[in-house]
């Protein structure tokens, strides 16, 4: 619908005392996308969100929204709305007054306020709770109240700071779906911070993976999942995460624990150590394969997860429930050569074939 809500960050650097939260990042967020900022705690994702919101200012770099430089503009001038992790609802006001507050501050006339409040509340299905106070609501209802307060102004940017982390597992799954649909219906740019990579994978149109104050990779969930561009990203994405195994590469000959794994591609590199990544689902049991020791078998209900000792490394492999495996047994595994990821042993960056 609109070109509203394009966010551009250039060279953003933010330091807290001695701690470098963001080390010169660049980011482009397209209008109307659902963009996830994914990373572990302390990686800089929440800092980035707060800079976009205007709650903090960067030490270096520029931030623009729809072409307008807003690096130092206060939140009020940015047309952004935010859902906080702990919701930050005003406990002394009713749900109605909470939702109406931003409109009141924007000096919207009172006759319009009522209609807008009802509409926002109806969108998140809490219009029957308007006269209650936050203290009388359940966790899920509070969260929806926070959502309603954010959407009632029809902002350009819709910022969410780990909004699902305070909900129980079941509610989290349900709300996830609703959030995505809401964003689609509202046709607004959403920027979503999370440490849960599964959440990011299911919700985002595109995501940025943050690690230690920098952005390691930007792309769609498939891109990040199928082609992680460094070993850190590879190890972070996926559940369970990718197995990382040291190996030796010579041309097209890959050696893992003394066993040969033939590759279909050739790599123009000097022979030497290499880091191999392989997803648990891309391993299979092969009598001619590399022997591993079964360390522990985890029952996941629909499948089993085998923890196998390969040399010094513990490797996870997914098998069907019916597979007969006994503790302490030697399990020979084979790698699916097409699904291997190769990373430079020193830099950790992805290595491509010629």
């Amino acid at each position: 619908m609109s070109e509203r809500g394009r966010v551009t960050l250039r060279g953003i650097r933010k330091v807290f005392g001695k701690f470098v939260a963001l080390d010169g990042i660049d980011l482009d967020i397209e209008p109307v996308e659902f963009f996830a900022l994914l990373g572990p705690s302390g990686s800089g994702k929440t800092t980035t969100l707060r800079l976009i919101a205007g709650l903090d200012t960067p030490d270096e770099g520029t931030l623009s929204v729809d072409g307008v430089d807003v690096t130092f503009a206060p939140p009020g001038e940015r047309d952004v709305a935010m859902v906080f992790q702990n919701y930050a609802l005003y406990p002394h006001m009713t749900v109605r007054d909470n939702i109406a507050f931003p409109l009141k501050m924007a000096k919207v006339d009172s006759s319009s306020i009522d209609a807008l409040v009802h509409e926002a509340a109806a969108r998140v299905r809490i219009d029957h709770l308007l006269h209650r106070r936050p203290g009388q609501l359940s966790g899920g209802q509070q969260q929806r109240c926070a959502l309603a307060r954010a959407i009632v102004r029809e902002p350009k940017l819709f910022l969410l700071d780990e909004p699902l982390s305070n909900l129980d597992a079941q509610l989290r799954l349900e709300t996830r779906v609703e959030l995505k649909k809401l964003q689609r219906n509202l046709n607004v740019t959403a920027i979503y911070v999370t440490h849960d990579q599964e959440e990011a994978m299911t919700l985002a149109d595109r995501m940025a993976v943050f690690l230690e104050g920098g952005i390691k990779q930007v792309g769609t969930p498939s891109e990040v999942f199928d082609r992680p561009n460094c070993v850190e990203v590879a190890a972070f994405i996926g559940s369970p995460p990718m197995n990382i195994v040291p190996a030796h590469l010579d041309g097209s000959a890959l050696t893992i624990e003394g066993h040969n794994v033939p590759l279909s591609r050739t790599f123009d590199r000097a022979p030497g150590p290499i880091t191999v990544g392989i997803r648990p689902g891309h391993l299979r049991i092969d009598p001619d394969g590399i022997p591993t020791q079964l360390y522990l078998s985890e029952n996941l209900g629909e499948s089993r997860l085998l923890n196998l000792k390969l040399g010094d490394v513990l490797v996870k492999m997914r098998v069907a429930q019916t597979e007969p495996i006994v503790d302490g047994e030697t399990v020979p595994i084979a790698f699916d050569a097409e699904s291997l990821h190769l990373f430079d042993a020193d830099t950790g960056l992805r290595v491509e074939a010629d």
Partner: protein
């Protein structure tokens, strides 16, 4: 009843007896004051003190409407205490907000200064106040007295309100900020409503302390400004003490604070402990 049960019951009974006996130590003087206030001046002098007598309400009538009526004093106390309370709250609440939640320049030094002003013994202030007010002709005036009363009310109110201000979650300002509220609007619409309880407790304490104040009242007041604490001395002189009337007058004078004390007992205790434990922890 088995052995353990009996022992525990016995223990509880002993405890309650001892506790009640100790309770009497605090209750007795007050009950006695009340009894005395119902006696006639002659009856009062009987010794051993009589417990059975003809109660009379004459003393109360006298205290309120007689020669030494304390009604004017009650008015004075009400005016001075209320004005002090209102002024104090208006000045203290924003200042406490700045101390507790904002980037106030020189916060630590200012905080220390505010704390230090509470340490000044009143006698150290009444002397200069007397000299100063005398010079500007503000002795025995309402405005003079109220300003002086701010001395002990304001630092205490700030100190107390800071505790309550700190209890609000930190995201409140940020959420309001994003909702386009100015700092002033945030203070008024978001912060103050959430510390309503704390303000109530502070009001109670300020009012109580102002009502009960004596030293400033007696030295800096006069015939115009004569709070109840000073009016007590209407009934005490070198020649004689009008025991019964004094009791009646004192009980009437203390009625407002006693009523507040009993009604707001939970808040007062909470205020005492908040100030005591949290405020202490903050040092």
């Amino acid at each position: 009843m088995n052995v353990h049960r009996r022992a525990r019951l016995g223990r509880t009974v002993v405890l309650m007896v001892v506790a009640s006996a100790l309770l009497l130590v605090w209750v007795l003087p007050l009950i006695w004051a009340f009894i005395v206030s119902l006696k006639s001046e002659r009856e009062v002098l009987a010794y051993p003190p009589s417990v059975v007598f003809d109660p009379t309400s004459l003393n109360y009538v006298d205290a309120l409407f007689g020669d030494f009526s304390i009604i004017d004093s009650l008015m004075t106390s009400a005016i001075v205490s209320s004005a002090t309370t209102v002024l104090t709250i208006v000045l203290a609440v924003p200042a406490a907000y700045a101390f507790a939640r904002l980037r106030l320049p020189a916060k630590r030094s200012l905080g220390f200064y505010t704390l230090a002003t509470q340490m000044v013994p009143p006698v150290g202030l009444v002397i200069p106040y007397f000299l100063i007010l005398n010079r500007v002709g503000w002795l025995d005036t309402y405005h003079g007295m109220i300003i002086v009363y701010l001395t002990f009310s304001l630092p205490f109110a700030i100190w107390l309100m800071v505790s309550y201000m700190e209890d609000i979650p930190w995201e409140m300002e940020e959420a309001a900020f994003l909702d386009r509220a100015s700092r002033l609007q945030t203070l008024w619409h978001i912060i103050i409503p959430q510390v309503r309880g704390g303000i109530a407790v502070t009001v109670i304490f300020i009012f109580l302390n102002a009502w009960n104040e004596f030293l400033f009242a007696v030295q800096l007041g006069g015939n115009t400004v004569r709070p109840v604490t000073v009016a007590m001395y209407n009934f005490v002189s070198v020649e004689q003490t009008l025991w019964a009337k004094l009791s009646a007058a004192a009980l009437v004078a203390m009625l407002p604070v006693v009523v507040i004390g009993i009604a707001a007992q939970k808040q007062i205790v909470k205020g005492l402990t908040v100030g005591a434990v949290k405020g202490g922890a903050r040092q």
